[in-house]
Protein backbone atom coordinates (compact mmCIF):
# COMPACT_ATOMS: atom_id res chain seq x y z
CA UNK A 1 0.00 0.00 0.00
CA UNK A 2 2.77 2.42 0.96
CA UNK A 3 4.79 1.51 -2.10
CA UNK A 4 1.76 2.08 -4.24
CA UNK A 5 1.18 5.53 -2.75
CA UNK A 6 4.82 6.42 -3.29
CA UNK A 7 4.62 5.38 -6.91
CA UNK A 8 1.63 7.69 -7.38
CA UNK A 9 3.53 10.53 -5.74
CA UNK A 10 6.64 10.08 -7.83
CA UNK A 11 4.73 9.71 -11.02
CA UNK A 12 4.49 12.61 -13.44
CA UNK A 13 0.74 13.21 -13.87
CA UNK A 14 0.96 12.68 -17.61
CA UNK A 15 -2.75 12.18 -18.21
CA UNK A 16 -3.61 15.48 -16.60
CA UNK A 17 -0.74 17.32 -18.31
CA UNK A 18 -1.79 15.95 -21.70
CA UNK A 19 -5.40 16.94 -21.20
CA UNK A 20 -4.71 20.38 -19.81
CA UNK A 21 -2.28 21.21 -22.66
CA UNK A 22 -4.97 20.55 -25.25
CA UNK A 23 -7.65 22.94 -24.07
CA UNK A 24 -10.00 22.60 -27.01
CA UNK A 25 -9.89 18.81 -26.92
CA UNK A 26 -10.58 18.90 -23.18
CA UNK A 27 -13.53 21.22 -23.74
CA UNK A 28 -15.04 18.95 -26.38
CA UNK A 29 -14.66 15.95 -24.12
CA UNK A 30 -16.16 17.71 -21.13
CA UNK A 31 -19.15 19.03 -23.03
CA UNK A 32 -19.72 15.55 -24.45
CA UNK A 33 -19.72 14.01 -21.00
CA UNK A 34 -21.87 16.80 -19.60
CA UNK A 35 -24.33 16.21 -22.45
CA UNK A 36 -24.54 12.51 -21.68
CA UNK A 37 -24.91 13.25 -17.97
CA UNK A 38 -27.69 15.78 -18.57
CA UNK A 39 -29.54 13.22 -20.69
CA UNK A 40 -29.15 10.57 -18.03
CA UNK A 41 -30.26 12.93 -15.27
CA UNK A 42 -33.34 13.97 -17.23
CA UNK A 43 -34.35 10.39 -18.03
CA UNK A 44 -33.84 9.23 -14.47
CA UNK A 45 -35.55 12.36 -13.15
CA UNK A 46 -38.65 11.74 -15.24
CA UNK A 47 -38.64 8.10 -14.29
CA UNK A 48 -38.51 8.94 -10.62
CA UNK A 49 -41.17 11.63 -10.99
CA UNK A 50 -43.38 9.00 -12.52
CA UNK A 51 -43.04 6.69 -9.55
CA UNK A 52 -43.38 9.54 -7.07
CA UNK A 53 -46.38 11.18 -8.64
CA UNK A 54 -48.24 7.94 -9.16
CA UNK A 55 -47.90 6.82 -5.59
CA UNK A 56 -48.69 10.23 -4.14
CA UNK A 57 -52.39 9.47 -3.88
CA UNK A 58 -51.68 6.06 -2.40
CA UNK A 59 -49.36 7.60 0.16
CA UNK A 60 -51.98 10.15 1.17
CA UNK A 61 -54.53 7.46 2.05
CA UNK A 62 -55.31 7.41 5.76
CA UNK A 63 -55.46 3.67 6.53
CA UNK A 64 -53.45 0.84 8.07
CA UNK A 65 -54.74 -1.91 5.82
CA UNK A 66 -56.19 -1.56 2.35
CA UNK A 67 -58.56 -3.95 0.63
CA UNK A 68 -58.44 -3.96 -3.14
CA UNK A 69 -59.87 -6.04 -5.95
CA UNK A 70 -57.50 -8.69 -7.35
CA UNK A 71 -58.25 -7.10 -10.74
CA UNK A 72 -56.76 -3.76 -9.68
CA UNK A 73 -53.79 -2.53 -11.68
CA UNK A 74 -53.16 1.00 -10.42
CA UNK A 75 -54.96 3.98 -8.89
CA UNK A 76 -56.65 4.81 -12.18
CA UNK A 77 -57.75 1.20 -12.79
CA UNK A 78 -58.82 -0.10 -9.42
CA UNK A 79 -61.78 -2.24 -10.46
CA UNK A 80 -64.26 -2.94 -7.64
CA UNK A 81 -65.11 -5.47 -4.99
CA UNK A 82 -68.19 -6.02 -2.88
CA UNK A 83 -68.76 -3.76 0.11
CA UNK A 84 -69.87 -6.90 1.95
CA UNK A 85 -66.17 -7.72 2.49
CA UNK A 86 -65.80 -4.55 4.55
CA UNK A 87 -68.59 -5.61 6.90
CA UNK A 88 -67.01 -9.07 7.12
CA UNK A 89 -63.67 -7.49 7.92
CA UNK A 90 -65.12 -6.01 11.09
CA UNK A 91 -65.45 -9.55 12.47
CA UNK A 92 -61.71 -9.63 13.01
CA UNK A 93 -60.66 -8.61 16.48
CA UNK A 94 -58.11 -5.92 15.63
CA UNK A 95 -60.21 -4.01 13.07
CA UNK A 96 -61.43 -0.64 14.31
CA UNK A 97 -63.17 0.59 11.16
CA UNK A 98 -63.56 -0.39 7.52
CA UNK A 99 -64.70 2.28 5.07
CA UNK A 100 -65.30 2.17 1.34
CA UNK A 101 -63.35 4.44 -0.98
CA UNK A 102 -64.37 5.13 -4.58
CA UNK A 103 -62.26 6.16 -7.53
CA UNK A 104 -62.84 6.54 -11.24
CA UNK A 105 -61.74 8.62 -14.21
CA UNK A 106 -64.29 11.02 -15.67
CA UNK A 107 -64.48 13.61 -18.43
CA UNK A 108 -65.21 17.10 -17.21
CA UNK A 109 -65.27 20.54 -18.73
CA UNK A 110 -62.38 22.80 -17.95
CA UNK A 111 -63.89 25.59 -15.80
CA UNK A 112 -62.08 28.31 -17.81
CA UNK A 113 -62.12 27.05 -21.38
CA UNK A 114 -65.08 24.61 -21.30
CA UNK A 115 -62.91 22.05 -23.13
CA UNK A 116 -63.36 18.44 -22.15
CA UNK A 117 -60.49 16.77 -20.32
CA UNK A 118 -60.27 13.67 -18.23
CA UNK A 119 -59.78 13.86 -14.51
CA UNK A 120 -59.73 11.35 -11.68
CA UNK A 121 -62.52 11.52 -9.13
CA UNK A 122 -61.99 10.03 -5.68
CA UNK A 123 -64.78 9.86 -3.14
CA UNK A 124 -65.54 8.74 0.39
CA UNK A 125 -67.94 9.44 3.23
CA UNK A 126 -67.15 13.03 4.34
CA UNK A 127 -67.83 12.05 7.94
CA UNK A 128 -64.90 9.65 7.85
CA UNK A 129 -61.75 11.38 6.60
CA UNK A 130 -59.90 9.06 4.21
CA UNK A 131 -56.87 11.18 3.33
CA UNK A 132 -53.96 12.41 5.36
CA UNK A 133 -54.25 15.90 3.91
CA UNK A 134 -55.21 18.53 6.55
CA UNK A 135 -56.17 20.92 3.77
CA UNK A 136 -58.80 18.44 2.58
CA UNK A 137 -60.01 17.43 6.01
CA UNK A 138 -60.80 21.06 6.89
CA UNK A 139 -63.09 21.34 3.88
CA UNK A 140 -64.98 18.07 4.25
CA UNK A 141 -68.14 19.84 5.37
CA UNK A 142 -68.40 21.55 1.98
CA UNK A 143 -68.52 18.15 0.33
CA UNK A 144 -71.65 17.19 2.19
CA UNK A 145 -73.65 19.43 -0.15
CA UNK A 146 -74.60 17.66 -3.37
CA UNK A 147 -72.40 18.18 -6.44
CA UNK A 148 -69.70 20.05 -4.57
CA UNK A 149 -66.09 19.02 -5.20
CA UNK A 150 -62.56 19.94 -4.15
CA UNK A 151 -60.06 20.54 -6.92
CA UNK A 152 -56.33 19.70 -7.06
CA UNK A 153 -54.55 23.02 -7.55
CA UNK A 154 -51.45 21.24 -8.90
CA UNK A 155 -53.40 19.69 -11.77
CA UNK A 156 -51.74 19.69 -15.18
CA UNK A 157 -53.09 22.42 -17.45
CA UNK A 158 -53.83 26.09 -17.06
CA UNK A 159 -56.37 26.51 -14.28
CA UNK A 160 -55.05 29.87 -13.15
CA UNK A 161 -58.28 31.85 -13.50
CA UNK A 162 -60.41 29.22 -11.80
CA UNK A 163 -57.93 28.83 -8.95
CA UNK A 164 -57.73 32.57 -8.34
CA UNK A 165 -61.53 32.70 -8.11
CA UNK A 166 -61.60 29.76 -5.70
CA UNK A 167 -58.97 31.36 -3.51
CA UNK A 168 -61.00 34.58 -3.45
CA UNK A 169 -63.98 32.55 -2.22
CA UNK A 170 -65.99 32.92 -5.43
CA UNK A 171 -68.13 30.11 -6.75
CA UNK A 172 -66.65 28.28 -9.73
CA UNK A 173 -69.07 26.02 -11.53
CA UNK A 174 -68.44 23.62 -14.35
CA UNK A 175 -70.01 20.57 -15.91
CA UNK A 176 -69.46 16.87 -15.26
CA UNK A 177 -71.55 14.30 -17.12
CA UNK A 178 -74.24 16.91 -17.83
CA UNK A 179 -74.44 17.87 -14.17
CA UNK A 180 -73.42 21.25 -12.89
CA UNK A 181 -70.80 20.92 -10.19
CA UNK A 182 -69.41 23.55 -7.91
CA UNK A 183 -65.76 23.67 -6.98
CA UNK A 184 -65.92 24.73 -3.39
CA UNK A 185 -62.24 24.51 -2.53
CA UNK A 186 -58.78 23.43 -3.54
CA UNK A 187 -56.04 21.21 -2.21
CA UNK A 188 -52.55 20.30 -3.40
CA UNK A 189 -51.54 16.80 -4.51
CA UNK A 190 -50.15 17.04 -8.05
CA UNK A 191 -50.65 15.56 -11.49
CA UNK A 192 -49.34 12.14 -12.40
CA UNK A 193 -48.72 10.29 -15.65
CA UNK A 194 -52.02 8.48 -15.14
CA UNK A 195 -54.23 11.49 -14.52
CA UNK A 196 -54.02 15.22 -15.11
CA UNK A 197 -55.51 15.99 -11.73
CA UNK A 198 -57.86 14.91 -9.01
CA UNK A 199 -61.34 15.93 -7.85
CA UNK A 200 -62.48 14.95 -4.37
CA UNK A 201 -66.18 14.35 -3.91
CA UNK A 202 -68.48 12.80 -1.34
CA UNK A 203 -69.57 9.24 -1.96
CA UNK A 204 -73.10 10.49 -2.76
CA UNK A 205 -71.86 12.98 -5.37
CA UNK A 206 -69.65 10.26 -6.84
CA UNK A 207 -72.66 8.02 -7.35
CA UNK A 208 -74.41 10.90 -9.11
CA UNK A 209 -71.49 11.22 -11.49
CA UNK A 210 -71.43 7.49 -12.22
CA UNK A 211 -75.04 6.31 -12.31
CA UNK A 212 -73.91 2.80 -13.24
CA UNK A 213 -71.80 2.42 -10.11
CA UNK A 214 -73.51 1.54 -6.87
CA UNK A 215 -72.53 2.15 -3.30
CA UNK A 216 -72.02 -1.57 -2.75
CA UNK A 217 -69.05 -1.73 -5.17
CA UNK A 218 -66.06 -0.16 -3.50
CA UNK A 219 -62.77 0.62 -5.24
CA UNK A 220 -60.74 0.40 -2.07
CA UNK A 221 -61.44 -0.52 1.50
CA UNK A 222 -59.67 1.57 4.12
CA UNK A 223 -59.20 -0.29 7.37
CA UNK A 224 -58.00 1.20 10.63
CA UNK A 225 -56.52 -1.07 13.23
CA UNK A 226 -57.34 -0.75 16.94
CA UNK A 227 -54.51 0.59 19.08
CA UNK A 228 -52.24 -2.18 20.31
CA UNK A 229 -52.78 -4.36 17.25
CA UNK A 230 -50.14 -4.90 14.60
CA UNK A 231 -51.32 -3.99 11.09
CA UNK A 232 -49.23 -6.73 9.51
CA UNK A 233 -50.72 -9.41 11.72
CA UNK A 234 -54.29 -8.18 11.33
CA UNK A 235 -53.76 -8.16 7.56
CA UNK A 236 -52.68 -11.82 7.66
CA UNK A 237 -55.79 -12.72 9.65
CA UNK A 238 -58.02 -10.78 7.27
CA UNK A 239 -56.45 -12.47 4.31
CA UNK A 240 -57.20 -15.87 5.79
CA UNK A 241 -60.75 -14.88 6.77
CA UNK A 242 -61.95 -13.10 3.61
CA UNK A 243 -62.69 -14.94 0.36
CA UNK A 244 -60.09 -14.50 -2.35
CA UNK A 245 -62.18 -12.07 -4.43
CA UNK A 246 -60.38 -9.34 -2.50
CA UNK A 247 -56.72 -8.66 -1.75
CA UNK A 248 -55.50 -7.56 1.66
CA UNK A 249 -52.46 -5.27 1.72
CA UNK A 250 -50.90 -3.15 4.40
CA UNK A 251 -50.61 0.52 3.48
CA UNK A 252 -46.89 0.09 2.70
CA UNK A 253 -47.57 -2.97 0.55
CA UNK A 254 -50.23 -1.07 -1.34
CA UNK A 255 -47.76 1.74 -2.17
CA UNK A 256 -45.27 -0.86 -3.36
CA UNK A 257 -47.97 -2.57 -5.39
CA UNK A 258 -48.71 0.70 -7.15
CA UNK A 259 -45.01 1.44 -7.72
CA UNK A 260 -44.25 -2.02 -9.04
CA UNK A 261 -47.08 -1.65 -11.54
CA UNK A 262 -45.39 1.39 -13.05
CA UNK A 263 -41.99 -0.22 -12.82
CA UNK A 264 -42.85 -3.47 -14.55
CA UNK A 265 -46.19 -3.45 -16.25
CA UNK A 266 -46.22 -0.01 -17.80
CA UNK A 267 -43.80 0.59 -20.65
CA UNK A 268 -42.75 3.90 -19.13
CA UNK A 269 -40.13 2.47 -16.79
CA UNK A 270 -38.61 0.60 -19.72
CA UNK A 271 -38.63 3.67 -21.94
CA UNK A 272 -36.77 5.81 -19.44
CA UNK A 273 -34.38 2.98 -18.68
CA UNK A 274 -33.64 2.70 -22.37
CA UNK A 275 -33.24 6.47 -22.66
CA UNK A 276 -30.65 6.35 -19.91
CA UNK A 277 -28.89 3.50 -21.71
CA UNK A 278 -28.80 5.47 -24.96
CA UNK A 279 -27.32 8.49 -23.18
CA UNK A 280 -24.71 6.18 -21.70
CA UNK A 281 -23.78 4.82 -25.13
CA UNK A 282 -23.57 8.34 -26.59
CA UNK A 283 -21.22 9.24 -23.75
CA UNK A 284 -19.03 6.19 -24.39
CA UNK A 285 -18.73 7.09 -28.09
CA UNK A 286 -17.84 10.74 -27.47
CA UNK A 287 -15.26 9.98 -24.80
CA UNK A 288 -13.80 7.21 -26.93
CA UNK A 289 -13.37 9.61 -29.86
CA UNK A 290 -11.54 12.11 -27.69
CA UNK A 291 -9.33 9.54 -25.97
CA UNK A 292 -8.39 7.68 -29.12
CA UNK A 293 -7.49 10.96 -30.86
CA UNK A 294 -5.34 11.78 -27.89
CA UNK A 295 -3.63 8.38 -27.91
CA UNK A 296 -3.08 8.65 -31.66
CA UNK A 297 -1.45 12.04 -31.45
CA UNK A 298 0.92 10.84 -28.73
CA UNK A 299 1.86 7.48 -30.28
CA UNK A 300 5.44 8.61 -30.95
CA UNK A 301 5.96 9.77 -27.41
CA UNK A 302 4.44 6.58 -26.07
CA UNK A 303 6.74 4.49 -28.25
CA UNK A 304 9.66 6.51 -26.91
CA UNK A 305 8.58 5.79 -23.36
CA UNK A 306 8.47 2.10 -24.22
CA UNK A 307 11.97 2.33 -25.68
CA UNK A 308 13.13 3.94 -22.44
CA UNK A 309 11.89 0.89 -20.55
CA UNK A 310 8.40 1.92 -19.44
CA UNK A 311 5.99 -0.99 -19.27
CA UNK A 312 2.77 -1.21 -21.21
CA UNK A 313 0.84 -0.82 -17.94
CA UNK A 314 2.33 2.63 -17.54
CA UNK A 315 0.76 3.72 -20.83
CA UNK A 316 -2.54 2.06 -19.91
CA UNK A 317 -2.49 4.00 -16.67
CA UNK A 318 -2.14 7.27 -18.61
CA UNK A 319 -5.26 6.53 -20.66
CA UNK A 320 -7.27 5.50 -17.61
CA UNK A 321 -6.02 8.52 -15.71
CA UNK A 322 -7.36 10.70 -18.51
CA UNK A 323 -10.65 8.79 -18.49
CA UNK A 324 -11.08 9.32 -14.74
CA UNK A 325 -10.21 13.01 -14.92
CA UNK A 326 -12.71 13.48 -17.73
CA UNK A 327 -15.39 11.60 -15.77
CA UNK A 328 -15.06 13.79 -12.70
CA UNK A 329 -14.61 17.11 -14.51
CA UNK A 330 -17.42 16.37 -16.95
CA UNK A 331 -19.72 15.41 -14.11
CA UNK A 332 -19.59 18.94 -12.64
CA UNK A 333 -21.46 20.71 -15.47
CA UNK A 334 -23.41 17.49 -16.01
CA UNK A 335 -24.68 17.80 -12.44
CA UNK A 336 -25.27 21.57 -12.30
CA UNK A 337 -27.22 21.93 -15.55
CA UNK A 338 -29.96 19.40 -14.73
CA UNK A 339 -30.78 21.24 -11.48
CA UNK A 340 -32.00 24.17 -13.58
CA UNK A 341 -33.57 21.91 -16.18
CA UNK A 342 -35.45 20.02 -13.47
CA UNK A 343 -37.07 23.26 -12.38
CA UNK A 344 -38.05 24.05 -15.95
CA UNK A 345 -39.45 20.57 -16.45
CA UNK A 346 -41.26 20.62 -13.11
CA UNK A 347 -42.97 23.85 -14.11
CA UNK A 348 -43.88 22.61 -17.56
CA UNK A 349 -45.19 19.19 -16.56
CA UNK A 350 -46.42 19.72 -12.97
CA UNK A 351 -44.48 16.58 -12.07
CA UNK A 352 -42.32 16.37 -8.95
CA UNK A 353 -38.88 16.40 -10.63
CA UNK A 354 -35.96 17.30 -8.39
CA UNK A 355 -32.34 16.30 -7.81
CA UNK A 356 -31.64 13.60 -5.27
CA UNK A 357 -28.31 12.59 -3.74
CA UNK A 358 -28.87 8.96 -4.62
CA UNK A 359 -29.43 9.82 -8.27
CA UNK A 360 -26.38 12.12 -8.34
CA UNK A 361 -24.21 9.33 -6.97
CA UNK A 362 -25.72 6.83 -9.40
CA UNK A 363 -25.02 9.07 -12.39
CA UNK A 364 -21.49 9.79 -11.13
CA UNK A 365 -20.83 6.05 -10.97
CA UNK A 366 -22.34 5.59 -14.43
CA UNK A 367 -20.11 8.41 -15.72
CA UNK A 368 -17.01 6.77 -14.32
CA UNK A 369 -18.00 3.42 -15.83
CA UNK A 370 -18.76 5.15 -19.12
CA UNK A 371 -15.33 6.80 -19.27
CA UNK A 372 -13.60 3.59 -18.20
CA UNK A 373 -15.25 1.65 -21.04
CA UNK A 374 -14.15 4.34 -23.51
CA UNK A 375 -10.67 4.25 -22.03
CA UNK A 376 -10.53 0.47 -22.32
CA UNK A 377 -11.46 0.64 -26.00
CA UNK A 378 -9.00 3.48 -26.62
CA UNK A 379 -6.10 1.52 -25.11
CA UNK A 380 -6.30 -0.91 -28.04
CA UNK A 381 -4.60 1.83 -30.05
CA UNK A 382 -1.61 1.59 -27.74
CA UNK A 383 -0.64 -1.71 -29.38
CA UNK A 384 0.63 0.26 -32.35
CA UNK A 385 3.01 2.26 -30.17
CA UNK A 386 5.89 -0.16 -30.88
CA UNK A 387 9.28 1.53 -30.79
CA UNK A 388 10.84 -1.13 -33.03
CA UNK A 389 8.45 -0.43 -35.88
CA UNK A 390 8.39 3.28 -35.35
CA UNK A 391 12.06 4.24 -35.55
Amino acid sequence: MMGWLQTIQRRTPLGWLQLSRERSRLLVALSGIAFADVLMFMQLGFQNALYDSNTKMSRALDADIILVSPQARNTQNLSTFSRRRLYQAQDIAGVKSAEPFYSNVITWKHPDTQKETSIQVIAFNPDRPALNLPEVNQQLNELKLPDQVLFDRKSRGNYQTALTKIDQGQVVATEVERRTVTISGAFALGASFGSDGILIASDQTFLHFFPKRDAASASLGLIHVKPGYDAKQVATELDAYLPNDVRVLTHQEYIQFEESFWKSESPIGFIFGMGTGMAFVVGVVIVYQVLSTDVNSHLKEYATFKAMGYRNQYLLAIVFEEALILAFLGFIPGFVLPIGLYQLAAKATALPIYMTTVRAIAVLILTVIMCMISGAIATRKLQSADPADMF
Partner: protein, 231 residues
Protein backbone atom coordinates in the same frame (compact mmCIF):
# COMPACT_ATOMS: atom_id res chain seq x y z
CA UNK B 1 38.48 -5.50 -20.54
CA UNK B 2 35.25 -7.41 -21.03
CA UNK B 3 32.92 -6.31 -23.79
CA UNK B 4 29.64 -4.62 -22.80
CA UNK B 5 28.07 -5.64 -26.07
CA UNK B 6 28.96 -8.97 -27.55
CA UNK B 7 27.32 -10.23 -30.74
CA UNK B 8 28.03 -13.65 -32.24
CA UNK B 9 26.55 -15.20 -35.39
CA UNK B 10 23.47 -13.02 -35.14
CA UNK B 11 20.88 -13.65 -37.83
CA UNK B 12 17.60 -11.85 -38.12
CA UNK B 13 14.57 -12.31 -40.34
CA UNK B 14 11.55 -10.17 -41.12
CA UNK B 15 8.17 -11.49 -42.26
CA UNK B 16 6.55 -14.88 -42.20
CA UNK B 17 6.38 -17.86 -44.57
CA UNK B 18 7.14 -17.04 -48.19
CA UNK B 19 7.72 -13.38 -47.40
CA UNK B 20 10.38 -14.25 -44.83
CA UNK B 21 13.47 -12.25 -45.61
CA UNK B 22 16.83 -12.30 -43.92
CA UNK B 23 18.09 -8.85 -42.96
CA UNK B 24 21.11 -9.69 -40.78
CA UNK B 25 23.66 -12.32 -41.74
CA UNK B 26 26.11 -13.78 -39.23
CA UNK B 27 26.89 -10.51 -37.56
CA UNK B 28 29.84 -10.60 -35.14
CA UNK B 29 30.75 -7.54 -33.13
CA UNK B 30 32.21 -6.79 -29.73
CA UNK B 31 32.13 -3.37 -28.17
CA UNK B 32 34.16 -2.60 -25.07
CA UNK B 33 33.20 -0.36 -22.19
CA UNK B 34 33.79 3.31 -22.89
CA UNK B 35 34.13 2.89 -26.65
CA UNK B 36 32.41 5.18 -29.11
CA UNK B 37 31.45 3.13 -32.15
CA UNK B 38 29.89 4.63 -35.25
CA UNK B 39 28.00 2.36 -37.61
CA UNK B 40 27.59 3.55 -41.18
CA UNK B 41 26.32 2.06 -44.39
CA UNK B 42 23.68 2.62 -47.06
CA UNK B 43 20.01 2.71 -46.10
CA UNK B 44 18.42 -0.69 -45.85
CA UNK B 45 21.66 -2.32 -44.84
CA UNK B 46 20.28 -3.38 -41.44
CA UNK B 47 21.98 -0.78 -39.22
CA UNK B 48 18.82 0.30 -37.45
CA UNK B 49 17.68 -3.31 -37.08
CA UNK B 50 20.93 -4.16 -35.34
CA UNK B 51 20.57 -1.11 -33.13
CA UNK B 52 17.01 -2.03 -32.11
CA UNK B 53 18.16 -5.58 -31.30
CA UNK B 54 20.96 -4.30 -29.07
CA UNK B 55 18.58 -1.84 -27.45
CA UNK B 56 16.06 -4.56 -26.65
CA UNK B 57 13.34 -2.96 -28.77
CA UNK B 58 13.15 -6.15 -30.80
CA UNK B 59 13.62 -9.73 -29.74
CA UNK B 60 16.72 -11.41 -31.20
CA UNK B 61 15.92 -14.64 -33.06
CA UNK B 62 19.10 -16.66 -33.51
CA UNK B 63 22.72 -16.42 -32.54
CA UNK B 64 24.07 -14.77 -29.42
CA UNK B 65 23.49 -11.21 -28.30
CA UNK B 66 24.84 -10.30 -24.90
CA UNK B 67 24.36 -6.82 -23.53
CA UNK B 68 25.89 -6.02 -20.14
CA UNK B 69 26.28 -9.74 -19.55
CA UNK B 70 22.63 -10.54 -20.24
CA UNK B 71 21.65 -12.79 -23.11
CA UNK B 72 18.92 -11.04 -25.11
CA UNK B 73 18.46 -13.76 -27.71
CA UNK B 74 15.11 -15.39 -26.98
CA UNK B 75 14.40 -13.02 -24.07
CA UNK B 76 10.74 -12.41 -23.20
CA UNK B 77 8.96 -9.08 -23.45
CA UNK B 78 9.30 -8.44 -19.72
CA UNK B 79 13.06 -9.07 -19.72
CA UNK B 80 13.48 -6.83 -22.75
CA UNK B 81 11.62 -4.01 -21.02
CA UNK B 82 13.92 -4.28 -18.01
CA UNK B 83 16.99 -4.49 -20.24
CA UNK B 84 15.99 -1.25 -21.95
CA UNK B 85 16.32 0.61 -18.68
CA UNK B 86 20.11 0.24 -18.84
CA UNK B 87 20.27 2.06 -22.16
CA UNK B 88 19.88 5.64 -23.17
CA UNK B 89 18.16 5.84 -26.53
CA UNK B 90 18.47 8.88 -28.79
CA UNK B 91 16.37 9.00 -31.93
CA UNK B 92 16.52 10.89 -35.19
CA UNK B 93 13.50 12.87 -34.06
CA UNK B 94 13.73 14.25 -30.57
CA UNK B 95 10.43 12.55 -29.59
CA UNK B 96 9.93 14.83 -26.64
CA UNK B 97 6.50 14.83 -25.09
CA UNK B 98 4.97 18.13 -26.11
CA UNK B 99 2.74 18.37 -23.02
CA UNK B 100 5.77 18.26 -20.75
CA UNK B 101 8.32 20.97 -20.09
CA UNK B 102 12.00 20.32 -20.78
CA UNK B 103 12.49 19.55 -17.10
CA UNK B 104 9.53 17.17 -16.94
CA UNK B 105 10.72 15.40 -20.08
CA UNK B 106 14.15 14.82 -18.58
CA UNK B 107 12.56 13.70 -15.33
CA UNK B 108 10.77 10.94 -17.28
CA UNK B 109 14.22 9.41 -17.79
CA UNK B 110 14.65 9.18 -14.01
CA UNK B 111 11.22 8.02 -12.97
CA UNK B 112 12.03 4.45 -13.97
CA UNK B 113 14.72 4.24 -11.34
CA UNK B 114 12.98 3.71 -8.05
CA UNK B 115 15.67 4.68 -5.62
CA UNK B 116 15.32 8.44 -6.21
CA UNK B 117 13.03 10.79 -4.31
CA UNK B 118 10.98 13.42 -6.13
CA UNK B 119 13.32 16.18 -4.96
CA UNK B 120 16.40 14.23 -6.13
CA UNK B 121 14.86 13.67 -9.53
CA UNK B 122 14.11 17.36 -9.79
CA UNK B 123 17.66 18.45 -8.96
CA UNK B 124 19.33 15.82 -11.12
CA UNK B 125 17.13 16.65 -14.11
CA UNK B 126 17.82 20.36 -13.67
CA UNK B 127 21.55 19.74 -13.32
CA UNK B 128 21.55 17.64 -16.49
CA UNK B 129 19.79 20.37 -18.45
CA UNK B 130 22.27 22.87 -17.07
CA UNK B 131 24.98 20.57 -18.35
CA UNK B 132 23.64 20.53 -21.90
CA UNK B 133 23.45 24.32 -21.79
CA UNK B 134 19.71 24.70 -21.27
CA UNK B 135 19.75 25.83 -17.65
CA UNK B 136 17.69 28.87 -18.60
CA UNK B 137 15.08 26.86 -20.51
CA UNK B 138 13.97 24.42 -17.78
CA UNK B 139 10.28 25.25 -17.98
CA UNK B 140 10.00 25.70 -21.74
CA UNK B 141 7.73 23.42 -23.70
CA UNK B 142 9.30 21.63 -26.70
CA UNK B 143 7.25 23.81 -29.06
CA UNK B 144 9.16 26.83 -27.79
CA UNK B 145 12.62 25.32 -28.34
CA UNK B 146 14.73 25.18 -31.51
CA UNK B 147 15.56 21.87 -33.20
CA UNK B 148 19.04 21.73 -31.70
CA UNK B 149 17.74 22.61 -28.27
CA UNK B 150 15.12 19.88 -28.47
CA UNK B 151 17.75 17.32 -29.42
CA UNK B 152 19.85 18.48 -26.49
CA UNK B 153 16.88 17.94 -24.17
CA UNK B 154 16.51 14.46 -25.68
CA UNK B 155 20.19 13.77 -24.94
CA UNK B 156 19.72 15.02 -21.40
CA UNK B 157 16.76 12.67 -21.05
CA UNK B 158 18.80 9.72 -22.35
CA UNK B 159 21.83 10.41 -20.18
CA UNK B 160 20.28 11.68 -16.96
CA UNK B 161 19.97 8.19 -15.51
CA UNK B 162 23.70 7.56 -16.25
CA UNK B 163 23.13 4.56 -18.53
CA UNK B 164 25.96 2.15 -19.30
CA UNK B 165 25.16 2.22 -22.99
CA UNK B 166 23.91 5.01 -25.23
CA UNK B 167 22.31 4.03 -28.51
CA UNK B 168 21.77 6.76 -31.08
CA UNK B 169 19.95 6.46 -34.38
CA UNK B 170 20.98 9.28 -36.72
CA UNK B 171 20.81 11.92 -33.99
CA UNK B 172 22.01 14.67 -36.33
CA UNK B 173 19.82 13.92 -39.34
CA UNK B 174 17.25 16.59 -38.57
CA UNK B 175 19.76 19.25 -37.61
CA UNK B 176 21.87 21.80 -39.47
CA UNK B 177 25.62 21.19 -39.50
CA UNK B 178 26.43 23.49 -36.60
CA UNK B 179 23.78 22.16 -34.20
CA UNK B 180 24.57 18.64 -35.40
CA UNK B 181 28.20 19.14 -34.52
CA UNK B 182 27.29 20.62 -31.12
CA UNK B 183 25.04 17.69 -30.37
CA UNK B 184 27.62 14.98 -31.09
CA UNK B 185 30.36 16.85 -29.27
CA UNK B 186 28.03 17.06 -26.31
CA UNK B 187 27.35 13.33 -26.50
CA UNK B 188 31.06 12.64 -26.68
CA UNK B 189 31.93 14.79 -23.64
CA UNK B 190 29.10 13.44 -21.53
CA UNK B 191 29.93 9.85 -22.48
CA UNK B 192 33.56 10.35 -21.53
CA UNK B 193 32.53 11.90 -18.21
CA UNK B 194 30.12 9.12 -17.33
CA UNK B 195 32.28 6.39 -18.86
CA UNK B 196 29.51 5.05 -21.00
CA UNK B 197 29.64 3.22 -24.30
CA UNK B 198 28.12 4.76 -27.41
CA UNK B 199 26.82 2.96 -30.48
CA UNK B 200 25.79 5.53 -33.05
CA UNK B 201 24.22 4.91 -36.44
CA UNK B 202 24.72 7.69 -38.94
CA UNK B 203 24.98 8.72 -42.58
CA UNK B 204 26.59 11.96 -41.61
CA UNK B 205 30.27 11.96 -42.65
CA UNK B 206 30.97 15.20 -40.81
CA UNK B 207 30.77 13.56 -37.40
CA UNK B 208 32.80 10.41 -38.02
CA UNK B 209 35.84 11.90 -36.26
CA UNK B 210 34.32 11.52 -32.79
CA UNK B 211 34.41 7.72 -33.09
CA UNK B 212 36.97 5.36 -31.62
CA UNK B 213 35.94 2.80 -34.19
CA UNK B 214 33.84 2.79 -37.32
CA UNK B 215 31.95 -0.28 -38.47
CA UNK B 216 30.36 -0.46 -41.89
CA UNK B 217 27.33 -2.49 -42.79
CA UNK B 218 26.16 -3.54 -46.19
CA UNK B 219 23.32 -5.90 -47.12
CA UNK B 220 23.02 -7.13 -43.57
CA UNK B 221 26.68 -8.01 -43.19
CA UNK B 222 29.44 -6.23 -41.35
CA UNK B 223 31.96 -5.32 -44.04
CA UNK B 224 34.37 -2.97 -42.32
CA UNK B 225 35.66 -2.61 -38.81
CA UNK B 226 38.39 0.02 -38.58
CA UNK B 227 39.91 1.47 -35.45
CA UNK B 228 40.68 5.17 -35.79
CA UNK B 229 44.00 6.42 -34.53
CA UNK B 230 43.54 8.19 -31.24
CA UNK B 231 43.41 11.89 -31.95
Amino acid sequence: MSPVISIHNLNHFFGQGQLRKQVLFDVNLEINAGEIVIMTGPSGSGKTTLLTLVGGLRSAQSGHLQVLGQELCGAGAGELTLARRHNGYIFQAHNLHNSLTALQNVKMGLELHNHLSVADMQTQAAAMLEHVGLGNRLHYYPDDLSGGQKQRVAIARALVSRPKIVLADEPTAALDSKSGRDVVTLMQTLAKEQGCTILLVTHDNRILDIADRIVTMEDGKLTGNSVLAAA
